[in-house]
Symmetry: C2
Subunit: 134 residues, 2 copies
DNA sequence: CAGTATCCTAGGAGATACTG
DNA sequence: CAGTATCTCCTAGGATACTG
């Protein structure tokens, strides 16, 4: 859960004129893995959540994958991992301000998806229609 | 290029109370593949672009991958593929209104990335610091 | 409880070559 | 020019154990 090896043209406007446009190998930070967004959702209300507790709404994601996701988020500064010295152990995860700042963009994306889902479904249907036939 | 097999908890707020929260297996539409965003960038100014022309700012992406990306975008209704009956063949790609509607969210994400890149870099540095040591 | 440790697989993506 | 057709590789991510 990657600091993904990263694309070339960063998502900045593309240049067709510059012959050497490959020049700007910026390093975007990908949050596009499968689980990060959902973990964000799980923590957005501000309540600290425990490891196992997080697995529930994530449909019993395997511990390995959840650990990887959480570690990557921690490393990127999106979540804080707090170990309470008790027995049995209790570890809680919370969003940092940086992590919380991601919620806006996430909402924007989700809103877009919700708003245009019908259009996409329709586009797919007519594509399926057209391709096999014509 | 995928209609990706999709996650469970859609990116809607997560539910911890509902024991059967796995119930809503919504089908988000992922645009998170490696190239779609960048193709969007290549077409956002409205100018129709040709297949080979697109390869340039995409750092000579292989034809196979570009085709897959473009097909998926076409199927989702993001781009239009126009074949001009000439010889040699000329095919042009343009954004549809639906495709263009994605630019807003894309910008939002890019703006976030640009704004917080330093914070992330810093977080990573101090994580690298803390982990091996402590 | 909160994780490791292993093993395994699907499929995104690159390289290379060929065609209408 | 605008693509197919093949092959191959990598790795995200799942399944199944085991442990401090």
């Amino acid at each position: 859960m990657p600091d993904q090896p990263v694309p070339t043209v960063p998502l900045d406007p593309a240049r067709f004129d510059d012959p050497d446009c490959a020049a700007s190998p910026a390093q975007p930070f990908r949050v596009g893995d499968k689980w990060t967004g959902m973990v964000l959702r799980c923590l957005e209300d501000g309540t600290p959540r425990r490891f196992t507790e997080l697995r529930v709404p994530l449909h019993w994601i395997t511990p390995k994958v959840l650990t990887e996701t959480l570690r990557s988020m921690e490393r990127n500064g999106f979540v804080t991992r707090t170990v309470h010295d008790e027995n049995p152990p209790r570890v809680e995860y919370t969003l940092t301000p940086l992590g919380r700042s991601l919620i806006g963009p996430l909402d924007t994306a989700c809103d877009w998806a919700r708003a245009h889902a019908p259009a996409i479904t329709e586009a797919r249907a007519s594509y399926e229609q057209g391709s096999p036939v014509a």
